[in-house]
């Protein structure tokens, strides 16, 4: 067999501009064409470099995936207009990535949950299998541990059986031993065709996915932290059973298996002729130990999110929850209120007046973002930045990762006027591009409002963050006055949009904190 499939990309896989060359490491003397094991040249690479090597190995040898849909640019990219409709094709000027490979790897590095969607035979299960091999399991072990959803799948099939002898002889539940399924103890868990699992069994799966333990006959099995991979032929309800919403909500990212480009048929042919199965030839250099995975999780958590980036995420998230006609009290003017009340959506929307429904990004969705969504977004933005070798998240990292996190989380309102425009019709099907467009629209509005330089609510928040300790009553009253003045100014003659709504709620929060503090000072 040719061992081209075990060749790894040479480090550095994402070369950065050298910043300093003033010190010399003697190990550099022995770096060269011959790889060594005991010198710096052959020493274990940093974990981000190792993950990049895993990525490039998968892209180059394991998954024939020519779709580079996560685009980065160092300079303006070359853009071409193709066809009569004016479709744009861009050639990125910096290292760009294939989401189908990158997202599962980031899921692996953050121990999150990833759903592969796409038609049969697109390599969804094979990709999940590779992730298990990267975690150090033998391919056969991963295959055996993989849970295949089917309409008759019971909780016992999924989690484990009570031992028959114990069932007969036991005097109490504690006496019954459970034969737990081995997959529960694995650090990579694969559920194939999860939308074919019956609803009741889905609930048991939800407990494992959400709370990391399994329960059978009052016996508990605590599972280790793990990366999860689920596959579904059709995420839009094409499975045998409707997937319960809580289970869908536990999924952190969704990646779509894109179509195979026949131009790469030669590589498929080579695999057949050489009898190569990628999972059998994973280079040991890219297999991660449990300790390394623990360290990756810690490293990723340590990536900084600079305030300007965080503010733009806040501004984006503010766009979607406001639904003025859903509530009378200010706090309840949300889409959640409308949804929970069960009112007819179309009627509620018709009553929602006063906003420019084309311009308001919030009018394109039927829901807002949950805390879990935002936490996942931050986690994956950090992971992407870390994967690219950066110590802090850039706005482009957020822009690139956001569609994959919010896909199936932020739901379109198909009747929104925005989608009726011919140029936006494609967004009804292409949700990833729509979500990216939403984020771009939010950033354009952020720039228009010049919030990087002029953010009075942010200034008041920053002042509050310094703490209340030692503040004199006179200063507290002064701040309360400033808040009231700002509320009056913001509310004067302006339509209520999502970000303004959240700003006003934040000001109310600050006002309440200062009021409570002032009352406490006066009571002493």
């Amino acid at each position: 067999m040719l061992n081209i499939f075990s060749a790894l990309s040479k480090s550095p896989t994402n070369p950065q501009v050298a910043r300093k060359v003033s010190t010399y490491d003697v190990a550099e003397l022995f770096e060269g064409p011959i790889p060594l094991a005991e010198t710096g040249a052959g020493a274990a690479p940093a974990l981000d470099e190792k993950l990049r090597q895993a990525y490039f190995w998968m892209v180059n040898h394991a998954i024939i995936s020519p779709h580079y849909d996560i685009e980065y640019n160092l300079a303006p990219p070359a853009t071409f207009v193709v066809g009569d409709v004016g479709t744009r094709l861009t050639l990125p000027s910096a290292q760009s990535y294939s989401s189908y490979v990158l997202l599962p790897l980031l899921t692996f590095a953050t121990r999150s949950k990833c759903l592969f969607v796409g038609g049969p035979g697109r390599g969804k299960t094979a990709s999940a299998l590779l992730m298990g091999v990267l975690a150090g399991y033998a391919p056969r072990e991963v295959r055996r541990a993989m849970q295949h959803g089917h309409p008759q799948m019971t909780i016992a099939d999924l989690l484990g059986n009570p031992l028959p002898a114990d069932l007969v002889n036991a005097q109490s539940m504690e006496d019954i031993r459970i034969a737990w399924r081995p997959w529960l103890g694995m650090r990579v868990k694969v559920i194939d065709e999860y939308n074919r699992i019956p609803t009741r069994t889905q609930s048991a799966l939800l407990t494992v996915m959400g709370d990391n333990y399994a329960e059978v006959l009052s016996h508990i099995y605590e599972c280790p932290d793990a990366a999860w991979y689920l596959t579904a032929n059709d995420d839009a309800g094409g499975g045998t059973y409707q997937v319960i919403e809580a289970l869908r909500d536990r999924i952190d990212v969704i990646v779509q298996a894109l179509s195979f480009n026949p131009r790469f048929l030669g590589e498929l042919l080579l695999r057949i002729e050489e009898n190569v199965k990628p999972e059998e030839v994973v280079p040991p250099e890219i297999v991660f130990t449990p300790a390394e995975i623990d360290q990756m999780v810690r490293d990723i958590r340590g990536v900084a999110v600079p305030e300007p980036v965080r503010r733009r995420i806040e501004f984006f998230a503010s766009q979607f929850e406001l639904f003025e006609s859903a509530g009378e009290q200010f706090e309840y003017m949300t889409k959640d209120t409308a949804r929970l009340s069960g009112v007819d959506w179309a009627q509620a929307v018709a009553a929602d007046q006063g906003r420019d429904r084309l311009k308001d990004l919030g009018c394109q969705t039927v829901n807002g973002l949950s805390v879990r969504n935002l936490m996942t977004l931050l986690k994956f933005a950090k992971a992407l930045a870390w994967f690219r070798g950066s110590g802090e998240v850039e706005l482009e990292d957020v822009r690139q990762i956001l569609p994959f996190v919010l896909n199936d989380k932020l739901h379109q309102d198909p009747d929104a006027p925005y989608f009726a425009l011919p140029e936006n019709a494609a967004y009804r099907a292409d949700r990833l591009s729509w979500l990216r467009e939403l984020f771009d629209g939010s950033n354009a509005e952020y720039d228009r409002l010049d919030l990087d330089r002029n953010d009075p609510v942010g200034d008041l928040s920053a002042e509050f963050e310094l703490g209340l300790h030692g503040l004199e009553p006179r200063e507290v009253r002064s701040r309360l006055t400033r808040i009231e003045r700002l509320v009056a100014e913001l509310g004067k003659g302006r339509k209520l949009y999502g970000p303004l709504y959240d700003d006003l709620l934040k000001l109310k929060y600050l006002h309440q904190r200062y009021t409570n503090y002032l009352l406490w000072l006066q009571s002493r």
């Binding site: 067999m1 040719l2 061992n3 081209i4 060749a7 050298a18 910043r19 300093k20 060359v21 003033s22 010399y24 490491d25 003697v26 550099e28 003397l29 022995f30 770096e31 060269g32 064409p33 011959i34 790889p35 060594l36 094991a37 005991e38 010198t39 040249a41």
Partner: protein
């Protein structure tokens, strides 16, 4: 090409696996030079196998398995063929390696691989005297007891042969004191700790007082294989010399054993203090602390800078820099 019987036997035993390795290399790199590969296998590789088998009769298989990969790597990068202009890699395999057959038989990659890599690296350093380096390794290498000791010696010998940037690292290496002392030109029974202190006290000191009085000239026009597109400008940053040429910045490392250049980032380089115009003592010499040093450049366009122990001179008419001790120890 004909090869020795032991090599022919070992190759025949591994025919499928070794053919796959070459096929893999050709797939990765269509320009893989099979002729150069065959010549290297039949030449230096086969000769070295003979030495390895003489040192360790059961070491042939391990050497062939690992050595084959090393030769592929060298050929892929051109170092077993056209790119090895000076023949340094070939000399490592033919002149030096047979003297180290015992060490190579025990661990081919960490010994021969490391030496091949370092030879390639040093061949790219204009100030390094490769012959000196090879001679020192040939003399002292057989006395090293482990791959790590051999690499320490290689680094020490590189410093002693002109790689001035390795000075600090070499003085900190945990090399056997006897070997280290001989490597720097001292007696075998010299006190290595005292030698280190003496080296640290004055970069122009050597046990055999071998520092050249006129120092070293280093640098050349890029068109002639050097580092400077235009005559370099000299500056001082702390106790280091900084040279700049066409927007590129270099640190000048120099001591009694040699001089070399390392590129640094522009931000650091731009912070240096420019050199002052120099005045020649008698039209042909520059004044150091305790003596006059020959200088072949004209007075016009001459600039000089000093650190605590070293003087550097550049000329608007040359792509070289001259560096010498302020006071000879």
């Amino acid at each position: 090409m004909p090869v020795s019987t032991p090599l022919a036997t070992l190759l025949a035993d591994r025919r499928t696996a070794l053919n796959a390795k070459v096929a893999s290399a050709r797939t990765r790199n269509p320009a893989f030079d099979t002729q150069a590969f065959s010549a290297f296998i039949a030449g230096p590789f086969d000769q070295l196998l003979g030495a390895v088998l003489a040192a360790r009769p059961d070491g042939g298989a391990a050497f062939v398995d690992t050595g084959f990969d090393m030769v592929i790597a060298l050929v892929e990068h051109g170092w077993a063929g056209d790119r090895d202009h000076s023949g340094v890699v070939r000399r490592v395999w033919t002149d030096l390696a047979p003297r180290l057959a015992v060490q190579i038989a025990a661990n081919p990659r960490e010994t021969l691989g490391a030496l091949s890599n370092s030879a390639i690296k040093l061949a790219g350093e204009p100030g390094v005297r490769i012959d000196d380096w090879l001679n020192r390794l040939t003399l002292l290498g057989p006395h090293t007891g482990s791959p790590a000791q051999l690499r320490h010696l290689a680094a020490m010998a590189a410093w002693r042969s002109g790689a001035a940037h390795l000075r600090d690292a070499a003085l900190a290496l945990p090399l056997s004191p006897e070997i280290a002392s001989v490597a720097v030109g001292a007696r075998r029974d010299a006190d290595w700790g005292e030698l280190v202190n003496a080296f640290k006290a004055n970069r122009w000191w050597t046990p055999d007082r071998s520092a050249p009085a006129d120092g070293y000239r280093i640098g050349a026009f890029t068109g002639l294989g050097g580092r400077f597109p235009e005559p370099p400008k000299l500056a001082v940053l702390g106790d280091a010399f900084i040279l700049s040429s066409a927007g590129q910045y270099f640190v000048l490392d120099a001591d009694a054993y040699g001089a070399g250049l390392r590129m640094i980032d522009a931000v650091r380089g731009a912070a240096a203090t420019p050199a002052t115009l120099a005045t020649m003592a008698n039209g042909r010499q520059i004044r150091a602390d305790d003596r006059l040093v020959s200088c072949r450049w004209p007075q016009d366009g001459l600039a000089v800078a000093m650190t605590s122990d070293t003087v550097a001179v550049v000329s608007a008419w040359s792509h070289q820099v001259q560096v010498f001790a302020r006071a000879l120890p």
